[in-house]
Every structure is written in structure tokens, then in C-alpha cells.
């Protein structure tokens, strides 16, 4: 089984991640997931590709802390976070987060909390590549 927290170039399988999450406990009554995808249109421009730069060692360390914090804060049974780097095209997967809990509220709230925290804490930057030129993405609130 792959690690619960990963940064990787290749795509991921949501089914495999959810199966890995479920395999840890049969007490899991709710799983909340978030899938972030690459948009092919942004700020009025067509986007052909998105490329990522990351401070890899710190990003992985922060994502592991984030998972541990979420498990403690929301009393989760397990959680997984996978983020892609490199270059992706419109429609491609970027990030997957899954939170498993005994009940749905904790699973859904933890999932929302993890993606919001990831954007604040994890040193990854994305650049949109468009026919009009490239530009680094300014974070959305």
C-alpha cells in the first residue's frame, strides 16, 4: 500500500486511495473527499497547462503534520493527502484529500479544513501557462 501522504508527478486513483483508507478500519461510517482539478480557463484566459514548483521536503513534512492535526482535531480514523507536481493539463487531477470518521459530519468538516489548511501551510506554487504568457497564481481566499 502506498503512503498516506504523498507528493508525486503521476496521476492517482481515487478508488485506490479510498480503498486504502477503508482498509484500516471497519468502524468508518463516513468518508469525505476533495478532488482539486486543473481548470482550462482562469481570469478570462485560456490555460493550456499548469506547472508546479514545491519546496519538496518541507511540503511533505507539512502535509504529514496536517494529516496528524486533522486526525486529532476531528477524531478521524484515518486520512490521506496526495498532491501532484510537475506539469498538468486542463481537467487533470491536482490534489486528493480523504477523511474517514465514524460519522459524516467529522469526515466532511475535516476534509474542508485540510484543503483550506493545505493552501496556507504547504509550500507549493502553481503557474498557469497560457497562449498570452505564463503567470504565477495569486492565492484565492
Amino acid at each position: 500500500m502506498q503512503a498516506s501522504v504523498r507528493i508525486q508527478h503521476e496521476d492517482f486513483s481515487q478508488d485506490e486511495e479510498i480503498n486504502a483508507l477503508k482498509s484500516g478500519s471497519k468502524r468508518m461510517g463516513g468518508i469525505g473527499t476533495f478532488l482539486g482539478c486543473a481548470r482550462d480557463f482562469s481570469e478570462g484566459r485560456e490555460v493550456s497547462e499548469i506547472s508546479f514548483d514545491a519546496y519538496g521536503s518541507m511540503a511533505l513534512s507539512e502535509m504529514n503534520k496536517l494529516r496528524r492535526d486533522a486526525i486529532e482535531k476531528f477524531d478521524l480514523l484515518d486520512a490521506r493527502i496526495v498532491h501532484r507536481i510537475g506539469t498538468v493539463k486542463g481537467g487533470d487531477n491536482i490534489v486528493f484529500i480523504a477523511a474517514g470518521a465514524e460519522h459524516r459530519v467529522a469526515a466532511l468538516e475535516a476534509c474542508r479544513w485540510m484543503i483550506d489548511e493545505l493552501k496556507q501551510r504547504v509550500p507549493i506554487w502553481k503557474k498557469e501557462i497560457t497562449p498570452q504568457g505564463d503567470s504565477w497564481v495569486v492565492p484565492h481566499p
Binding site: 482539486g36 521536503s57 490534489v95 496556507q120 501551510r121
Partner: protein, 79 residues
């Protein structure tokens, strides 16, 4: 020697991902920032976050140790 790393838009403005700065006894994070901000003023307009040895740091008065790894970063945009 202090190893300073840059990523994303900050690295692009500086034109490289790494610079080495001579360590001086008693050197604070603020000293390093001021020295580099003077050298790379356009890039440091974007800097709002810092890390030392892989940990977020807010205290500019943090003393640096020789062989530290310091990163000056713009706001993140992953996810």
C-alpha cells in the same frame, strides 16, 4: 555558510533557486533578509513567509546557526 533557497515566483524574479551567504557570528534572520532584500529588491516584494531548516518561522530576531537552510517564500498557491 547559509544555504538560501527560493521557489516559484520569487525564484523566477531572482533567476535562480539557491544562493550561498557567508555565515557571521550572531547573524539573525533579519540580517540575512535585509542583505538579500537589498540585493534582490523586486523578488523580495513578493516575500511574506519564511522557513528555517524546514520549519515556518515568524520571528525575525531568530539567531541563525552556521549551515542553516533558509527559505524566503511568497504566499502558497498549491491545491
Amino acid at each position: 555558510m547559509i544555504r538560501v533557497l527560493f521557489f516559484g515566483p520569487v525564484a523566477e524574479r531572482i533567476g535562480c533557486h539557491t544562493v550561498q551567504v557567508e555565515y557571521r557570528s550572531g547573524m539573525l534572520l533579519k540580517d540575512l533578509r535585509d542583505e538579500l532584500a537589498a540585493r534582490y529588491s523586486k523578488a523580495f516584494e513578493l516575500v511574506s513567509l519564511m522557513a528555517v531548516n524546514g520549519e515556518h518561522v515568524r520571528d525575525m530576531a531568530l539567531p541563525l546557526a552556521d549551515n542553516s537552510e533558509v527559505v524566503f517564500m511568497s504566499k502558497f498557491s498549491g491545491g
